[in-house]
Each structure stands twice: as C-alpha cells, then as structure tokens.
Symmetry: D2
Subunit: 290 residues, 4 copies
C-alpha cells in the first residue's frame, strides 16, 4: 500500500445529526477552498457542495475519507475501503471515540496537516469469515460478508441452551467450548464486545487476535491471544442447535450443526490516520480509568 | 408445609437411559416390598410395576419423588410440585449433581432412611415472572410459566446488538444495564448460568437472589446479591429491540420495547431431601476445586 | 438493643481537614442550641465547644455518634462502639460514601430528624477473629483485635510465593486454596477489597459473608456467599510460609504454618442511621454505573 | 543466535527426587554412549558420571541443557543461560508442564532427535528490570537481577493498604493504578501469576507483554496487552508505602516512595526446544479444559 496524493476527500456523516451537517459544511468549504474535490453520499451531497457518490464508491474513489460521527459511522465506511486502504480520519461529534480520535475543534487542523503530508496511519487488521457446509462454501460473495474490523462472533440462537463449539487454531485442535458463543476479535475489537466478555485490552497495531468465549461453562476457559496468522476454525457441534454468525454486529448467516466457520486475517487492513491523542489517553478517557 | 406420611413414591427417570431403568426396577421392587405404591410416567410404568401418572399428577400425588437422572431431570419435575412441596430425592446416574446428591450405590439406603423418617429437607426458593405490556399482564397462566428453580433470564434476541434494560429492585431505581441480558438467579441457580456470567456461588438455603448482567458494557456492573423479598422489575428500554424471557432455560415469551418483567420469589419452594454429602463437597467435586 | 433517648452526641471528625472543623462548629452550635451535650476528641473539643473524650469513651457514652469525614473515619469509630450499638450518622465531606450517606448540606436536617425520633438504623454485622496456635489462643484481648466491619484478610507475607490455605466452614471441609490470600467480608465490606478481588456486591443488611480468594491458582475458585452463622476456619498449610492477618486493613498478627484463624460473626453489630439515599443510588454513584 | 553443534549436554535435575536421578542416570548413559560429554551440578555429577559444573557455568558451557523436573527447575536454569541462548529441553517428571513439554517416556527419543538436528526452538522473551532512586540506578548487577522469564511484579509490602502506581508505557502516561500491585508478564508468564490476576492466556512466541493489575480498585482497570518493545515504567506514588519488586518470584528489592522501576524486554531470549505437543494441548491439559 502506497500513499496517494490527495486530490479528493470523501465526507461521511452520521445520519440525522444536525451538528454533523454543520461541521461538515464548514469542512467542505475549507477543503474546496484548498482546490480539492469533496465527495459525499447523495443525501447530503447537495448541502455540502459535494459530488454525490454511493458509500461504496466514495470509499474506493476518495483519496482520504473523513468521518464525522462516532465509531459506528466509521466502521460502516471502513469495511468498504478494501484493498486500496484509503486513509480514514475519524472526527468524534462528542468527546473521543476508540476509532474517531479527533475532536470537532481539531477537525480543520487535522485535515490541513494531512494535506501537508504530515501524518501517518495505523493499519488495523480485519477478519474474514467463510462458512463451509458439507464441504462447500455457503453464501459467499454477498455484500454483508465484508471483512470485520472489530469481531467475528458465533452466538447461540436458541436461548436457554448452551452451544457446543469445537475450535481449531493453526489447523490444530484448540478447545471444545460449551458456551453462549465465541468472539474472535481484532485488537481494534478488543475494547468492544470482547472486553464485556472478559477479554484483555490489546494495543491496536499488534498482529494478534483474541478468542473470548461468551459465558463459558468451564471457568478455566479464559480469553486467549494468538498470532493473527493462525486460521481459526469453529465447528458447531451441538446436534440440534442453530447458531448465528455476525461480523461487526451484522448477522450474516444462520449456522447449522456440522457447519464450519473459518476465520482468517483479512487481505486488506483499515488505515486510520494516527491520532495526536495516544491510545492510552483514549483508554483512560473511554474506560474511565481517571 | 408439613411432612406427609409416605405412602406412595413417584419414580421419575431420565429418558432413554438403560441404566436408569435398571436402577429404577430394583428401587421399585424395594419400595413395593415395603408395602408402598410406586407411581411413574406412562412410558415406564409397566417396566417398573408402577401405576401410570402424567408427570404433573405424579408430582402432586406422590408423597415423595425419587429422581433417577441428572439435574435437568430433577428440575423438570421440581417445578411441577407446587404448593404441596413434596420432598424430592435426586439420585445421579454418574458422580454427583448440584441437585441430584445421591449416588446410585446410595439409592436404596437413602430411600430406606427417608421411609424411617430419618431425613430433613432443604427448601430452595423459586422465582416467578410476569410480563406487563401497556399496563396489562400478558401470557399469564400458560403451563410454561411454572416457577423457575434456577433462574429467570432476559436475553437479547437480535444478535450483534446490545440491550438496554432499566431495572428496579424493591420498587427503587436500581441500575440501567447495557448488556446482552440479565440473569436473576436463585441460590440454586448460582452454580449454573449465573456462574458462567461471573456471579458468585451462593449457599443454597440463603434467602437471596443474584442479579448477574450478561456481558455488560459498563465493566463496574458486577453481580449483586439482594434479599429474595425484593421484587425485581426489568423494563426493555431499547427502542427497536426484542428480547427473550426464559425460565430455567425454557423460552416463555418474546419481549417488546416497553415491556416490564416482574420477578418475584415464588409462593412455593422446592423441598430437596438433604444430602449426606455437604454442599461444599459437591462444589469441590463439580467445580474441580480438588 | 433498644433505642436510647438522645441526650449527648459525639462528633467525630476527620483529622486535618478544615472543612470538617467548620461544619463541625456549626453542627455543635446547633446541637447545643437544642439543649444537648456535645462530646468530641480532645484535639478538637475546644474548637467545638464540646466535652473532651477519648475516642473509645466517646463511642460508648454518646447516645448518637455523628461522623464528619469519609468511610475510613466512620470505620475507626464504629469498631469502638461495642455492645451498646450506639447509632452512627455518617456525613461525607465530599459526595457520598458507602457508609457516610449524608451530604454536608443534609447534616443539620439529618440530626434534627434523628432528635425528633424520625429515623431507623441498619444493623451491619461485624466479624471477630481469633488465632489458635498449638491449640491455644494467641494475642487475644489486644486493642487491635476489635471486630472488623469490612473484612478479615489473610495475606501472604513472602512475596512471590503462593499460600496454601485449608478452609473449613460450619465445621466442614470447605476448600483448599492456593492463592495470595483469602478475604472474609461482611456485606458492608463487599464493596471494598472483596470487590477488587472479584467478589459480588451484597446488600448491606443480609446475614451473609463473602469468601473471596485473592488471585487463586485454581480458576474455578470463585467467590462464595455463605450464611453469617457459619464459623470460617482457615489453617495455614504452607510448610515454610508466614502469613499476615488484617482486620479492616489493620495488621493484627503474623501467622505461622499450622496456625488456625477462626472467623465468626461479631456479638455486636454496627448501627448506621438509615440513609435517605437508597443503597442502589449509592452504588450507582460510587461505582460509576451511570 | 546460531545453532551450535552439540558436543556436551548439561543435565539439570530437580533436587531430592529419586525418580529424577534414576531417569538422569539412564539419560546420561545414553548421551555418553553417543560420544558426548555430560555436565551436571556437583551434587549429582558423580551419580550421573558427569563432569561437575556450577549451575551458571553449566548453563553457559553446555551446548544443550536437559532439565528433569518441573517448570520451576527449568526456570532456575533458564535465567542463567544468557546471551548464548543454549537450547533447553524440559522433561516433566509427571504429566506435562507449561515449559517442560516432554514426558519421561519421550526423554531419550527427544534427545536423539535433537542430536540428529531434527528440532527447532521457540525463543521466549525475557524481562529485565532496573530501579531508579533519586535519578540513580540502585542495586544493579547483583545476581538476583537476572532476567525474568515469567514476570516482573510490584507488590505492596504493607498489608491492608492499597498501593498507588503511576505507569508509563512507551514513554507515555499510561495509567495510575490503585491496587495491591502490578504484574508485567511475558507470554510465558501469562499462564502463571498473571492468569490468577485475571490476565489472558498468550501464545508463547508473541512479541508482547501483559500488564495485569492485582486487585485494582477501579474495576475497569482490565489487563492490557502491549508490544514488547515498549518500556514499562512504574513509579511508586503512595507517599508512605514500601513496595516489593520480584522477578520470577524472587524478591530483589524493596521499593520506596518515588522509586521508578523500568521494565524492558531482555537482550537475550530463552530458547526452548519446541514441543511435539502443541501449546493448545498443554493448555487443555494444564487448565483442565477437557
């Protein structure tokens, strides 16, 4: 991945938030004043004086994406960027986010610095999942199957019943879990669902994944950190249970007994513009360590 | 609740286990040899030389219920006993259970001791739940709504989304949880799902309930132990989410935004014949403290 | 325990805090204005217009104790009250405390209400500990051995080494821990050290104690809640280790291999004036559940 | 680090275990039968027909070290190996160890395979610690300050009091802990003390360290995984407390208020002969996931 000269900037805004639009307008004017093109989704393009693009096209044609919103807004565009690894700057509409590192007051300065070439990016790994049923891949290629930036989660669908999962890592038998489910999280996702399930906080640029069982029956089934080059394979072993597969919270498949879910590091990363706030500062703030 | 003289014994057996039937036959012969009547479910009554009764009738007409199976088998009959609080002796087909305290080798002696009046019971509290929607109770009276011996659980139904729950205890504001769900467990249930969710192990005869949030977003939302006389009321606050209500793992209702679930100590207890094995011994064995 | 008519009030103040003195002066004037006597420790008695008393005498002669400070100040006087169970009102100098429930702004009103008889108390259990060495009690009767309001803790003294503890509860074998130590906490103490060690939050008036091992080697050694009528006995089993015994954080003895620590519910309780803030409100505030 | 041709093998044995000596004798005969020299500590050299060497010399002169014992025995020799990174084969006298991967029955075959060059090593990082007081290093150079293979631990010395620790990572402010202490663990140490303190299990060859606070006062202070290239600096902030510094369980210094402990990845690694048992198999066995 090589840095592109920045000729166009995509502005992605949280829907239905007046403040986002207001900040967006000023930022758009600033960017156009520097002679660059602004791309935006059709709903807001007019208000921003921007060229209208569908989200997916915007993500792949802009040379920089600026998100005005929260971590959720950033995630929804990040997974569309793909192999081009367009840098993303996240501006949080309130306080700081785990992914949206800049405050509104810092928005214009941050963009100016990027245009001046004065920035670096943190490449965050993603996770891809495929499902094999009776030896064949199922449901591949659908849009929902975009890589996960946070986590791939297998969850029980039949409430009140525990799930039996047989897990392989690096092609070797790893563990048989009896649990509500299993979270496979990137370092980025370690401060999300995996943290609620008892997982550790992982520095965002490490090449690792976290396996965190959800409410495991065996109390010594503690979260595990393994290299991100290991494929993680999960077989649904409960004979009469369905399970659910979600990527970053989007349910993408219903799993049947015998199904195998293969989770691998995604081919592309997400390139976040590095923050002027250290990750430690963000953790202290978001997790209220103060 | 007063002890009944024991004139009839209901034998409840785990389905499809030959060993249960074999032990049951011997036990039935032993009981009938003492001049008592044996009741059993229709499927096995013939093999046991017992009078056939549906489970619910058996539970309420026998003066003692003997379970041959595991904790699940015991639970399924325990919730049918109702106000009569018929004593239940649980015989585990392998090792020890949290509720099925006697081993096969101890079965006949245990029954003999009970017939000699040499026994006490531990009364375990139960939990009842009702759902109020727009000020009216819903779905009350259905058979599935029998009291829970282990736990009442509210769980998210839409995977990948967090649930917002507003909880009152003793009619006072208690906590607003953002979580996968909430477990309200009896001491009996404290070694089940609540333990997997991080809850404490509670001595079985204490008059308390455990509130254990499932994967709470706020890390300081730790499990809480409160008096069992407190009503626990939970309102589904997520505007567009459904949730699920389960009693001892049986799904009894789909909850909608605004629904209020009221959990109260059940009017009747479950009377388990006290074990010759201390609860501590059972914990050491089941939780592998050794 | 019966309520005394209130003729004298002991004012106990956090040392070296100007604000405490200022509030104390006003409160003292208010109390004396109602014709009651004020008792205070010699260091501050002059400034408060109070009769000077040593802390222990004050605790046992006043008909009501008002604490101006934090939970630590309250604890230090609470354990001196003894069998008389003098009611204690805790006024927190900043925000709310787990034990000091009233805010400064509420101080005068709270006292007025108590004088009008419009109050109830929550009786909190205490814990007593004795140490048996070679069959004889050691170090009994020293002043430090006052009952604990929060917890009795056995901790390793030799860092880097794990402690072996054999525990009996209710005279029955309970568990053998390999751990850094063991906390035996009252419900009052459940929000202190025991919480940091993974224990549950327990409603303050329940008749239970929490056993929470500190960094246990066996991961299934989870915190346990048992009736407060059970004696808890702990034997130091590590052959060449010393351990330390602390009551409410005060180190009272060095334990040797073979020593037995017997922890029992104290004969007297601590009578806290009930708060106008519910315990749930205090938990939300102190644990930042908001 | 380059592989040496193996001309001499050091045999290190757990003291006072007859079985170790018995297995050692056979192994020594086997090695000498292949024309190689055997080195051993003076106490057992005679019995083994080996040349006597002090542990430190043995560790640095042998071309391969074979440990007969448990993980503790392996650790005590591993930290003496130093920059030469002599490969170590650990043979466990009972079952499997986290570090002693081979069973007795596999001992001779394992050595034969190593002599045939058919082996790889896993390089495990170590941790070094220095203490700065008033700007000067203290107590450096003493033998106890050998690198830690498992963990560097700062622990309170005054029981019943909480420790205030200000931590920097990668030269940036990281977190202020109020806790019993702080564990800085290697992946190797992640299955030891850090696991008891709530840390994750980390794959042994990852270039990371775990920071796990011990009984932290702030419940959101969860264990953290950071790159091993980050220096971790800890300042004792409690004004009147002493703390203790231990490396792999050996107490090496008493820390005073204001002291700064700097923990860094050691210059040398420990080279363990790779196991024929996968790490996952060892975890399943040792943590009883079965």
């Amino acid at each position: 991945m090589e840095a592109h000269p920045i000729r166009s900037i995509g502005l992605v805004m949280k829907r239905g938030v007046d403040e986002a639009l207001e900040v967006g307008r000023r930022l758009s004017a600033f960017i156009r004043g520097r002679g660059l093109e602004v791309l935006a989704e059709p709903e807001v393009a007019g208000a921003l004086g921007a060229r209208p693009f569908a989200a997916r096209d915007l993500a792949r044609q802009a040379d920089l994406v600026v998100v005005l919103g929260g971590d959720g807004t950033l995630l929804s565009i990040a997974r569309l960027v793909g192999a081009r690894e367009t840098p993303i700057l996240g501006i949080n509409l309130g306080g700081l986010g785990f992914l949206t590192h800049a405050r509104i007051a810092e928005a214009q300065d941050s963009v100016a610095r990027i245009l001046a070439g004065d920035f670096t990016v943190d490449r965050r790994i993603t996770l891809e999942a495929v499902v094999e049923r009776s030896g064949r891949d199922v449901e591949a290629g659908r849009a929902e199957w975009l890589p996960a930036v946070n986590d791939v989660v297998i969850n029980k669908r039949i409430l009140g019943r525990i799930l039996d999962l047989e897990v392989f890592a690096d092609r070797l038998p790893f563990c048989c879990y009896r649990a509500d489910g299993l979270i496979v999280a990137t370092p980025t996702g370690s401060t999300g669902y995996a943290l609620s399930a008892g997982g550790p906080i992982v520095f965002p640029t490490l090449g690792v994944v976290v396996l965190a069982p959800i409410c495991p029956h065996t109390l010594s089934n503690r979260p595990v950190v393994i290299p991100d080059r290991f494929a993680v394979e999960v077989i649904i072993r409960s004979p009469d249970h369905e399970a659910s597969l979600t990527l970053d919270g989007r349910e993408v498949a219903t799993l049947k007994p015998g199904d195998l879910v293969r989770v691998r590091k995604g081919k592309a990363c997400v390139a976040l513009v590095s923050s002027s706030h250290s990750y430690f500062e963000i953790w202290r703030d978001k997790l209220r360590w103060g």
